[in-house]
């Protein structure tokens, strides 16, 4: 006990002396900044209130409550893509995947502005918002998510997405696709068009097919699911394929790139798609997940490269193109880390720590990230892929010997435990990000 007390006081002294970051202690960082008499230790604007942005805002405040943090997010409720496939399957209501910003405001003292960030002046360090406000920053952190590449597939634009939803941003699009699935007659076909890499949530389309199959099995047992894919391999492919076979027989058909799986044209009004070699497929419900790029504000800030994504310094997640702008989440080039909510949260913490360090004038810490992506074959059958990542020679690397897939021969009880852990994970990450739970 006294050893511990000694250890802490020694460490604290060292920290104060060496780093000036006493506030990294939870006992101190638990105090909200509101009402604090300390002078501002810097101004940070965070754009985007999803997994990356909300986490970063919270962890900057935990790191140093004296930093002034303003979060800019147009929506008062954020709907998560994780578990939106359960909403599609009718297992969850949309409200159960909605999260708000009360904890960030009330517990951590983050200022939250519900407006859209429209432009950034990286020289003047200014963000202009849709409500006419201009925010000044010392450090800007953005977690802009993805935008669809409209018309990358002929005929698939914003208007077409109202007829053939992408449902790749959760919310109204999720409900629209749910309505279409509900309106299907037994025996009709649901078609999904899936893009090539990279895209948000690599296992997501295949979990979606699984959970829609779970719904069909109960309510439309003669219906089929056709996945038209612009690639030849996909995340957790062996585990998904085995799960589909075991749970749904031949209900799900997957057609890869080499077998003419790439959709090149969409007629949303007819719910018809055409593949590369001219085959036409008609669906009763059509889900087009189009190719993607970093959210538009990243382009406005000048942090995207020719790929449409954002290159970053792997130690800090600061843009390699524009100083004082940090970018996390799906918008970044962070392979081998996937574009997942889990990764965005993990990157948000690393960038938050780097910003706290930079504002204190000290060097950034050594980052370590973990990622686990659970997918549900059905609500009692879970599979996962995990990874641990570090930086070596200025590259993010997959730590050798760690991570990997659920065992192919796992028992039913392990599959069931993974499904329960998927729910546990969702509750934990949403608590860690927004302080709210489903």
């Amino acid at each position: 006990m006294s050893d511990n007390a000694n250890k802490i006081s020694t460490s604290r002294r060292q920290l104060l002396k060496g780093l000036g970051l006493a506030s990294l202690f939870p006992a101190i960082s638990a105090c909200a900044a509101t009402g604090s008499s300390q002078a501002s230790a810097g101004r940070v604007v965070v754009i985007g209130g999803g997994f990356g942005g909300a986490t970063a805002a919270k962890y900057i405040k935990r790191g140093n409550p004296a930093i002034d943090v303003t979060l800019v997010e147009p929506n008062k409720t954020f709907y998560t893509c994780p578990f939106s496939n359960l909403v599609l399957a009718g297992e969850h209501q949309l409200e159960s995947i909605g999260h708000n910003y009360d904890e960030l405001k009330q517990v951590y003292g983050v200022k939250v502005v519900h407006a859209l960030a429209q432009d950034i002046d990286p020289v003047a360090h200014r963000v202009s918002l849709s409500d006419g406000q201009t925010l000044q920053y010392d450090k800007l952190l953005m977690s802009p998510g993805i935008d669809m590449r409209w018309n990358a597939i002929e005929g698939y634009d914003e208007a077409a997405a109202e007829l053939a939803p992408h449902a790749w941003k959760a919310g109204p699009q999720t409900l629209l696709l749910r309505q279409q699935l509900e309106a299907m007659q037994d025996g009709e076909t649901f078609i999904m068009s899936v893009p090539g890499n990279p895209f948000r949530c690599p296992p997501g389309p295949y979990e979606r097919a699984s959970l829609v199959a779970h719904y069909f099995k109960k309510h439309k047992p003669r219906s089929k699911i056709l996945i038209l894919d612009a690639k030849d391999n996909f995340s957790k492919q062996g585990l998904f394929t085995a799960g589909w076979q075991a749970e749904y027989g031949d209900m799900i058909e997957w057609v890869g790139l080499s077998n003419d799986g790439r959709v090149v044209r969409v007629d949303a009004a007819r719910r018809e798609v055409e593949t590369e070699f001219g085959t036409r497929h008609q669906a009763a419900a059509l889900n087009v997940i189009p190719p993607q790029k970093a959210g538009f504000i990243a382009e406005r800030a000048g942090v995207t490269d020719q790929t449409g994504w954002v290159p970053v310094n792997p130690v800090t997640f600061e843009s390699t193109l524009v100083k004082d702008i940090y970018v996390v989440g799906d918008a970044t080039v962070a392979a081998p880390m996937p574009k997942s909510g889990f990764a965005a949260n993990a990157q948000g913490k690393v960038a938050a720590s780097a910003i706290v360090a930079a504002l204190a004038g000290v060097n950034p810490l050594e980052p370590v990230w973990a990622n686990t992506c659970y997918s549900l074959i059905n609500p009692d059958y879970g599979i996962s892929v995990a990874g641990v990542y570090k930086v070596q020679d200025n590259q993010i690397i997959d730590v050798e010997g760690a991570g990997g897939l659920s065992a192919a021969d796992a028992s039913d009880s392990v599959r069931k435990a993974e499904a329960a852990y998927a729910v546990g994970w969702y509750n934990a990450i949403t608590q860690d990000t927004w302080g709210t739970r489903s």
């Binding site: 990294l24 939870p26 913490k349 990542y389 760690a402 659920s406 435990a417 546990g424």
Partner: protein
């Protein structure tokens, strides 16, 4: 089945003992990292265990548990001695022994409330 459980228990027992004798060494190892560095390492655990490891749900809370139990459990995951594990065996293998010790120390010292 019984046999593998026995083996597993014996393995964990050995680890607990080993951890007991190594605990002084572990504390020394943990000192290799600055408190800020340990905070950042530990932040990665919150994605599944909640902020500060306090969320008790399908996935157990880790805050405030005895350091020896946490470290033995992490080592059991790393060494593949914990049967029917979901992901922690795959994750623990990505951390050095010193990192796992530092994490065990960190979470043992978090007030669970």
């Amino acid at each position: 089945m019984t046999r593998s459980i026995l083996l597993h228990k014996r393995g964990l027992h050995k680890l607990l003992l080993a951890t007991f004798f190594a605990s002084a060494a572990s504390l020394a190892q943990a000192e290799e990292f600055s408190p800020a560095q340990v905070q950042l390492l530990a932040a990665a655990c919150a994605n599944c265990h909640g902020t500060d490891g306090k969320l008790a749900d399908a996935i157990p809370a880790i805050a405030g548990r005895p350091v020896m139990v946490l470290e033995a459990q992490l080592q059991a995951f790393k060494q593949g001695l914990q049967p029917n594990t979901t992901v922690m065996d795959r994750i623990a293998k990505g951390y050095t022994d010193a990192e796992l010790s530092a994490l065990a120390n960190h979470f043992a010292n978090v007030d669970k409330h």
